[in-house]
Symmetry: C2
Subunit: 97 residues, 2 copies
DNA sequence: TGAATATATGAACATTTGTTCATATGTATT
DNA sequence: AATACATATGAACAAATGTTCATATATTCA
């Protein structure tokens, strides 16, 4: 690995890890592992207000970790990256030791 | 995975990911993949002052991601966790897509 | 013991970050 | 068109974070 990595890649990776580095966002990601969910559904699940969730969803969307799909008035979010599960799993493995 | 996870574990995982969510820290971790390094060596490598590096090393140490070893006046840091390499590798895979 | 070298630490400061509030946008229904 | 519902967004604020500076601690060597 080492040789191919330049500063920019590590910088970008740090940006990516910021998505996982917040309780709200990692809980959102975790809640999407099993299935897609609407914004209000997530807000209820995490017991937080809708605006806070929307703000965080945008961050996750910008990082290309989740995608959205509209169905009438409702917008459903789901995971958009295979690494999400693995990254969370590795993190949990570490903290559970 | 889903079922076994409670809020605390996700909270702890978020704390862990904070270590990877900063340019300086992820560069330190990356620099330690190949070999152990002294504080000054890391500071030189990253072109940052020694104090800044020491502060970040403490955070990584507290998270149990690195360990230290003294040899005379010099303290050598090295990785202390198998997940570090994998977590960084997954992150890089995502950003390189 | 005193000087030199390596690392650690506390305080201060500027910057970044997450949430809330108010409100805007978009869609469906009557 | 008017209303209701779902989501998005900008501004404001408090809290958390990363770096710098000054200085403390620890070790070696003369």
């Amino acid at each position: 690995m080492k040789q191919e990595i330049n500063e920019n890649v590590l910088f970008d990776a740090a940006e990516l890890f910021k998505c996982f580095a917040d309780s709200t966002r990692i809980r959102i990601l975790h809640s999407l592992i099993s299935k897609e969910r609407s914004v209000n559904e997530i807000a209820d699940l995490l017991n937080m207000n809708q605006s806070a969730i929307s703000h965080q969803l945008r961050i996750l969307k910008d990082a290309k970790l989740i995608k959205k799909r509209r169905d009438g008035k409702t917008i459903y979010y789901s995971l958009d990256d295979d690494h999400v599960y693995n990254i969370i799993a590795q993190g949990i493995e570490h903290v559970e030791e």
